[in-house]
Amino acid sequence: MFVSISTTGAAEHPASDLGFLLHKHPDKVQRFPTAHGTAHVFYPESGERTCTAALLLEVDPAALLRHGRGKGRSGSPDLALAEYVNDRPYAASSLLAVALRTVFRSAMKGECTHRPELPGRALPLRIELPAVPVAGDGPALVERLFAPLGWQVEATPVPLDESFPEWGDSRYVRLELTGTLRLADALQHLYVLLPVLDGAKHYWVAPDEVDKLLAAGQGWLADHPERALIARRYLSRRWSLTRLAMERLAMARLAEADDREAEELDNAVPDTPEEVTDTDPTTTALAADAASTPPQAAEEPVPGGSAEAVASEPADGDAGRSESLASQRRTAILAALARTGAARVLDLGCGQGELVGALLKEPRVSEVLGVDVSSRALTIAARRLRLDRMSERQASRVRLVQGALTYTDARLKGYDAAVLCEVIEHLDLPRLPALEYAVFGAARPAAVVVTTPNAEYNVRWESLPAGHLRHGDHRFEWSRAEFTAWAEQVADGYGYTVAFEPVGPVDPEVGAPTQLAHFRLAEPATTAEPVTGTEPVTAAAAATAAAAAIADRTDSPSNDPALEGSANR
């Protein structure tokens, strides 16, 4: 990887003073060992009028590998996530930042013993980086990061492969920064912002890099309009360390076996920063700063992320005024469960355990079994619910287990109620009958509450392009008629009755954003002798339940005018 720093000058301030500032003689070719390879410093030009210093880092792939290893918690060498075909030797990433700091340490600190007056002087600088990796917005992001610091930014995207123009641009830009700044500041900007631009996921960063960031950011980071983004990006690199927990490696290998990215498979729960404030007080300030940014400002769409999470927030960012849709969903589910009086409840597809937590707050509920297929979701849920710190009595009310709803599961039998909250739409339609059988046929709880998006409502999400699903992993989204037809067929087939209710603001045209079906096991006949006329029971019960649902609808929390308004805008 390569960077060049040029300046111009005149007789009284010759450009070649750059050599003093950098502590590197313009007429020498020097080499410096760094953690990831050898850095070479040389001057393509050096004169009174112009002077250019160049740093060429020859990355040692073996060193890169050594650092890549042992990053799992067990410290065992695991090769799955170390990419051998890697842009690190070429792209200006954090490796270059580290090299800059190693080679130009004094310059970065603004020290120059021979010419103490030089560091304080702003110089006309031109910095050229032929390949800067940018995650997200590309040139626009580069502009947002460097322009506020006084740089004139020219960022040109590099095409991926001219043989395949349909592949578009790569994530690299050719970057040219010009401006009149002190050299120390310029170097610090590069040191902090190159890794932030890169946002690489599988690259190792030592914990003390955080301290280095704070030190390097002194004097300019605090006032930067994008400081929150910078902090978040920086921290997200640290979170990437936690991504390497053992349970994820197995998933990553399966992705690799299929020529896919790990994130494409292991996307059951979003990568969240929940650990940061807990584990590292030094980052608290920056983290808090990052957290205060409303989610709408997220600079990039999260692959497989949820449009709803963004869209359900009112546009003015005043989250305090109304309940999020997720929370309204929980309220509706809890109310439905309360009507059945269920004490032993299954949360099927419990994700990060939000509903499990809410259920545990209900004194009526004596036992919650949370089931999810994602080991990572369960790990996060256990941490969020603080299972390890619960009292024995509390802990005995809850269990989290891995399970898959396309398989029958003996552990799920005998419960009062099961909840499938935003779960069915994550299954491919052809696999849905397997879930139906596993839940309604085999586990057979007395009541089942199912929620799923109402696809008709999608036109009301501003941020959702037409025809798109709300979540990257949704395999389908149903209209109200489709959901009703499905639920009635399931109820019919398995001897349940079903009633429906809307969740969230009801739009007169397209309904509510979420639809909820409440199934109840039709009274089991206790006698083995022939019983006549069992059929009408279902219909009658369904009618009663439907009537109840209609009654519910009139005073549901979803009539909040604020929400109505935001959704209709």
Binding site: V29, A91, P130, R171, L254, A268, Y407
Partner: protein, 871 residues
């Protein structure tokens, strides 16, 4: 059932004859006697040490002191736990504790019942003085003086009530001498006919349909024996086959006495076995004078039997009384009973077992006809034994999880069905008429049925060991199963279709040649070393692995896999290869019509084909990976290196010595370019079918056949015909060919010129940008020199291709890279290969879905093991 031996209670003082104590082979033997009565000595003498669980030993386990009475409660918990585990596993177990108190025995009887084995009491009644004397001789056991008299009192009090407490055999041994002379005689269970190996013809529910029964027996090859009135009284098979009746011979139909006469005759002459159905049970109770509700066709039997002689009725009554609820046959591989039986009940004896065997289990609900809803035990059945039963009328007998229901509702106008065993052939004769009107229409399917061929989490989750025919037990670790579960349940196709996942393949041993990481000569050498002369080199296409299931028509797929459709194409992890169903359909359609044209369906006698293939271009599936990783690296290198080289040129012009540095950058730039060239070869645009190339290289399975066991030369011949057929149809339609040939060369590993020719071919292929070759023994599977399963193939990848794997300038790090270790990869490749073959074996044998899925799932789980991904 016999309750006790004739000797019980008969004093035999002075007789030198040994007391013979019958003990059922699977039972719980409870020794009863006061301390010092010699129980431990008796147990040691007659039973294996592992069969005897003593309370003293358990006391020691929990307290480090065998005599610590304060630890008794915990000690008995442990004892009960061990006893329970042993009984669950069907092992004879002896409890060595005083057991003189009823409470202690009650717990043991309950455990025996819970596991459906007979509790047997053996009482050692020894005079108190003898016990006291023995205890005095044991320095470790200082008992208070009142203990032995109390034990003696408790024992006396117990003696009379032991049978009432539930002991099915009670043996009382009085005095030291009788104990000395006692002899244990192992006894088989009534239901244990494992020594009978058949062959059998198992016949479903008859319900008085004598005429159909006679026809069926005739169809099965039995010769009927008739009495002077022309009534069938016996039937024998010339080849000595045995008929087995699953019960419900009686009621509803036109001639219950006729059926009974024939079946009883066959059973008495040893030509048949018979288990009782619920209808026999009720009729038997009625005949025994018990009060029963006359319903469900019992009236017909009563009326018909009243016309028979008293003698005949007495014979029927006796026959009914002697019926055993179920039989274990053929070494335990076959279980026959009336209403089905879960594995834990096989060969067991208890009221519950009998009840399940006769009536089955119900969910407690009733259906819309008011009939009890049957508990779908067969769906959950995972046993090795084939369970053949009847009881629930179904339109067609079909296998579900190694069980089959033979009640095809003959009396309701359906058919009378028999299963030939071990042939597993169904023979059925239609009913002559509807003899009895059914309360509800016949169910559309066997219990569980089509929807209900569900897989259970217990089939796949957690640490598992999968038995394979070729590599013994293959273990799957819990964390790997967890990852596989997530991928399988969230992304994979319906497991019914997913009969196979391709195993990973090891590379050839690392080349010793300068400049090469892999070279074919190492692969040839390795096989030669294993004694394999005949190997085949197959061109390795660089696309993405695809397993293809192609059906001849929608119905054919439905018949075999329970899902209609044209078939499916999936990736190494079981995902649909293409999200575009239409395109999938188009590819399958080409394959199907090619197979039709080439006559493959006919020739292989199948309605579907399962193939292993490579689907190209690579960019079709991996475009995201290409863009994010491969092309990106090329782009970054292409942007960065020229800038550095320009700067170096400027520095050189200033007279700085950067020659060496410049050379290196130029080399790196050339490597990066070579890298870009390497991946570009595997990318091209596609539009619909245009540009798509499918290169099948192995036929995996067809109906009833694991084709992966055939030599590779045969595979390639068949596939060549497919490809030729596709070429023809493409030419006719003026379209591009979709199926493509796999280049190959046969090599004799001991013939230098043959090896040299193959090396030259590899050089040519890889020189032109090919990925490389796979070297496979022609005969598969093969055993290596030590008799172990050998590697099914070794990949030898081209020098340029490897840049995609090891990085653009890997050739400059060969010394380091050659240190690579292949052990784990080779082991993984073998295990996955054995599992893959196992899945195909199981599929071919028509084994239950869960058995096939177990092996397929294990392949996926192993894929998540940590192995250097570059290998």
């Amino acid at each position: 059932m016999t309750t006790e031996t004739p000797e019980v209670g008969t004093p035999e003082s002075g007789t030198p004859r040994a007391r013979r104590l019958p003990v059922t082979d699977v039972s719980l033997v409870v020794l009863i006697g006061s301390t010092g009565s010699g129980k431990s000595t008796f147990a040691r003498k007659h039973f294996l040490p592992t069969q005897v669980i003593s309370s003293d030993y358990c006391r020691g386990l929990v307290s480090d002191d065998e005599n610590d009475q304060s630890a008794s409660a915990d000690a008995f918990d442990v004892l009960h736990y061990i006893v329970g585990k042993r009984l669950a596993a069907g092992r004879l177990t002896v409890v060595d504790a005083t057991n003189v108190q009823q409470d202690a025995r009650r717990a043991l009887v309950a455990i025996a019942r819970e596991h459906h084995v007979l509790p047997i009491a053996i009482v050692l009644d020894v005079p108190g003085e003898v016990c006291a004397e023995r205890n005095r001789a044991r320095p470790d056991r200082q008992l208070p003086p009142h203990v032995i008299p109390r034990h003696q009192r408790d024992l006396r009090r117990s003696l009379r009530g032991l049978e009432r407490e539930g002991f099915r055999k009670v043996h009382v041994l009085r005095g030291v001498e009788e104990i000395e002379r006692a002899e244990i005689v192992p006894e088989k269970r009534y239901n244990d006919l494992r020594h009978l190996t058949g062959p059998f013809d198992i016949v479903g529910d008859i319900h008085g349909c004598r005429s159909e029964l006679e026809t069926l027996l005739g169809r099965l090859g039995y010769a009927l024996v008739r009495d002077e009135q022309g009534r069938a009284v016996d039937a024998a098979h010339p080849e000595g086959r045995t008929a087995v009746f699953v019960g419900d011979l009686v009621d509803r139909g036109p001639d219950t006495p006729g059926v009974l006469r024939l079946v009883m005759g066959m059973v008495e002459s040893g030509h048949a076995l018979c288990v009782p159905g619920n209808h026999e049970n009720k009729l038997g109770r009625w005949m025994g004078g018990r009060k029963v509700t006359v319903s469900h066709g019992l009236q017909e039997s009563i009326d018909q039997l009243s016309a028979e002689s008293d003698e005949f009725r007495a014979r029927v009554r006796e026959f009914m009384r002697g019926l055993v609820s179920h039989y274990l046959l053929d070494g335990g591989a076959l279980v026959v009973c009336h209403a089905g039986l879960p594995e834990r009940f096989h060969g067991r004896a208890s009221g519950k077992v009998r009840s399940h065997a006769l009536y089955g289990d119900t969910t407690g609900e009733t259906d819309e006809y008011g009939l009890p809803v049957r508990y779908p035990w067969a769906e959950e059945y995972r046993g090795r034994a084939l369970v053949v039963y009847g009881h629930t009328p179904v339109p067609v007998a079909s296998f579900l999880n190694n069980t089959i229901c033979l009640d095809t509702g003959c009396v309701f106008g359906g058919s009378l069905t028999a299963l030939r065993y071990p042939e597993r052939e169904i023979v059925a004769v239609p009913a002559e008429q509807e003899w009895y009107e059914p309360v509800r229409p016949l169910r559309a399917d066997a219990p569980g049925g089509r929807e209900g061929r569900p897989l259970d989490l217990a089939d796949v989750a957690g640490r598992r060991v999968v038995e394979t025919a070729r590599l013994g037990n293959v273990a799957v670790r819990e964390e790997n199963a967890a990852a596989a579960l997530e991928v399988m349940s969230r992304f994979a196709l319906d497991p019914r279709l997913l009969a196979y996942l391709p195993p990973t393949m090891a590379p050839s041993p690392t080349s010793r040649r300068e400049g090469f990481l892999e070279h074919p000569e190492e692969a040839f050498l390795a096989y030669r070393h294993d004694g394999m002369r005949q190997v085949i080199c197959e061109e390795k296409h660089m696309g993405s692995r695809a397993v293809v299931l192609a059906a001849r028509d929608d119905a054919a797929l439905d018949r075999r896999f329970g899902l209609p459709g044209p078939g499916a194409i999936w990736t190494r992890t079981g995902r649909a290869f293409l999200s575009d169903e239409q395109l999938t359909g188009a590819i399958l359609d080409r394959l199907r019509s090619a197979a039709e044209r080439a006559g493959l369906f006919e020739e292989l006698g199948t309605g579907w084909l399962l193939l292993d293939a490579e689907l190209m271009p690579w960019s079709l599936k991996a475009v995201e990976l290409l863009r994010r990783q491969y092309a990106a690296v090329g782009a970054a290198a292409g942007a960065a290196l020229p800038a550095a080289i320009d700067a170096l040129a400027a520095a050189a012009a200033r007279g700085l010595d950067v020659a060496e540095l410049t050379d290196r950058q130029q080399e790196r730039a050339a490597d990066a370019l070579a890298f870009t060239e390497a991946y570009r070869r595997y990318c091209w645009p596609t539009e619909g079918l245009d540009g798509i190339r499918l290169a099948p290289f192995q036929l995996l399975a067809a109906e009833g056949a694991n084709l992966a066991l055939r030599p590779h030369t045969e595979h390639l011949d068949l596939i060549d015909r497919l490809v030729a057929a596709d070429r023809q149809q493409a030419e006719e339609a003026g379209a591009a060919q979709v199926l493509h040939r796999t280049g190959r060369m046969l090599v004799d590993t001991e013939d230098e010129s043959s090896v040299a020719a193959a090396v030259a071919w590899w050089e040519e292929l890889t020189g032109a940008g090919g990925e490389g070759v796979v070297v496979k023994p022609v005969e598969a599977p093969h055993r290596d020199a030590t008799g172990r399963l050998g590697q099914p193939g070794l990949k030898v990848r081209g020098r340029e291709y490897l840049r995609i794997i090891y990085g653009p300038d890997y050739t400059r790090q060969l010394d380091r890279l050659k240190q690579r270790s292949l052990g784990h990869k080779r082991s993984l490749a073998l295990r996955e290969y054995a599992l893959g073959l196992e899945a195909l074996d199981r599929l071919a044998a028509g084994e239950p879905l869960w058995r096939v899925h177990e092996a397929v799932f294990a392949v996926l789980a192993l894929e998540s093991e940590p192995v250097d991904p570059r290998l």
